[in-house]
Symmetry: C2
Subunit: 273 residues, 2 copies
């Protein structure tokens, strides 16, 4: 029986047709509520547990409607349409409100697919970076629990040491993996797609409150690429495109050490003036 904290965080109990119950895990706590990546992984896990599941994850969109508390939550994961090779899912995560009625904390949609071998080609080669062992690991922020669950070795664009408003670009590259080794799976890949600190901190060299509003991850990995990766490092690259009136977007790519793209991801993030 695994005692890895990520497996503990993914624990869900069946609670009727299309329904599961769980509790946010303290090991993945962020400043307010759990790390968004672990929430995304939990919603994906509900799909993966579903008896009607077809195929493997292709696309995951998670909308963070309100912060989860440390209390139990319920997830409804419903297959709304099953085709020959794709399946579409609608997911809602709720917690009881003050009046006991369920309040929506998170919504998500997932597409799963039975994939076939076809012509394949990568149009975004992995950037040339030093090997993981030659890059110093850092702890992003002491006092934030979830960051301790990941080993992070920044190659480019680390968290600014001086908040002097003198940022130059929004690109970060880092080698990363679970701090306690755990073979990569779709849920941990979903979580790793969201480990990048807010681009506004880097571009402005100014630390302002920020939080993901919506994230979409496309899974290019199948079982073979996950197995090839194992407990190895991923190279993550993130950059913003546009900061405008309280929100910015962020693109990310995740490669394994062999240079295979495992996932590409995008998010829109709230930031305070």
């Amino acid at each position: 029986m695994s005692t890895h904290p990520f497996d503990e965080a993914l624990q869900l109990q069946a609670a009727g047709e299309h329904r599961w119950r769980g509790t946010p895990h303290a090991a993945y706590w962020n400043m307010v509520g759990p790390f968004g990546g672990s929430t995304a992984a939990t919603l994906l896990q509900a799909v993966l547990l579903h008896p009607e599941l077809l195929g493997t994850p292709l696309s995951l969109t998670v909308n963070y409607a309100g912060a989860l508390t440390a209390a139990p939550f319920e997830v409804e994961a419903r297959p709304v349409r099953t085709n020959r090779s794709t399946q579409h899912w609608s997911i809602t995560q709720t917690q009881p409100g003050d009046d006991g009625q369920p309040v929506v904390a998170t919504t998500a949609t997932v597409v799963t697919a039975a994939r076939r071998d076809t012509w394949s080609l990568s149009d975004v080669p992995m950037p040339a970076v030093p090997a993981p062992a030659t890059v110093e690991p850092v702890t992003l922020f002491s006092g934030v629990e979830w960051v301790r669950r990941y080993e992070m070795r920044p190659v480019r664009g680390p968290v600014p040491r001086r908040w002097d408003g003198q940022g130059e670009d929004s690109v970060s590259q880092l080698w990363m993996r679970d701090a306690e080794p755990r073979p990569l799976d779709f849920c941990s890949l979903a979580a790793l797609s969201d480990v990048f600190f807010p681009r506004v901190w880097l571009r402005r060299a100014t630390q302002v409150p920020a939080g993901t509003v919506s994230i979409t991850t496309y899974f290019h990995a199948g079982a073979a690429e996950l197995a090839q990766t194992g407990t190895g490092y991923l190279l993550g690259q993130a950059r913003a495109q546009e900061f405008r009136n309280g929100f910015f977007d962020q693109n990310a790519q995740l490669w394994n050490e062999a240079g295979t793209v495992l996932a590409t991801s995008h998010q829109i993030v709230y930031f305070k003036q």
Copy 2:
């Protein structure tokens, strides 16, 4: 009363709380079902018509679960959580199946937001390209109705003239706008985010069946930027990152002629071997 075909395509009749009815418009017909961009715009329109709407569109994810027929459809657009400055929407589009029961054709999530003026910055400058008037307009595919609704002036990466398997990259740039002038709004911006032909055709110079599975668009424009754009051209840029086992992803950016980013968009697309 407008007779613009896009306004006709956006026509929805109220059908009870959170519900609307409409019919796909023949002017936006694709090879199988309507142009995905017009479907996305229609689902967004249901949110914009909703009496409880807060703010303007920030994020739109549309999942194409099955092709729409030319028959009437129903849209349910439900505000699942309203915060002080953001609102989260879940949308489902159905058509009656053979047994008369509703079948899900499309799902979507939308986030709307009341936006404030803040520090803003563009981290992806518009590429240097010739002015629209100096670029020849083309008709992408004769016989496909929706492409006639748009004026398209390709700057780079046009549809291959020879399907010889000799593609070099997946980048397209084109000036584009409604063929019949219509001031830009959120719905037409959502549709324009999906006009790019499948990247696999460009990268492989091979024409294979392909279709969008899921698209996410982030709106950076507010009312001021829409008004600034009016009936002018947008520069659209699209590129793929990864083609793998039947699916590829595509990133897009849309600028107005003044060089302002109006939207960034991402999609995952099915393709046949």
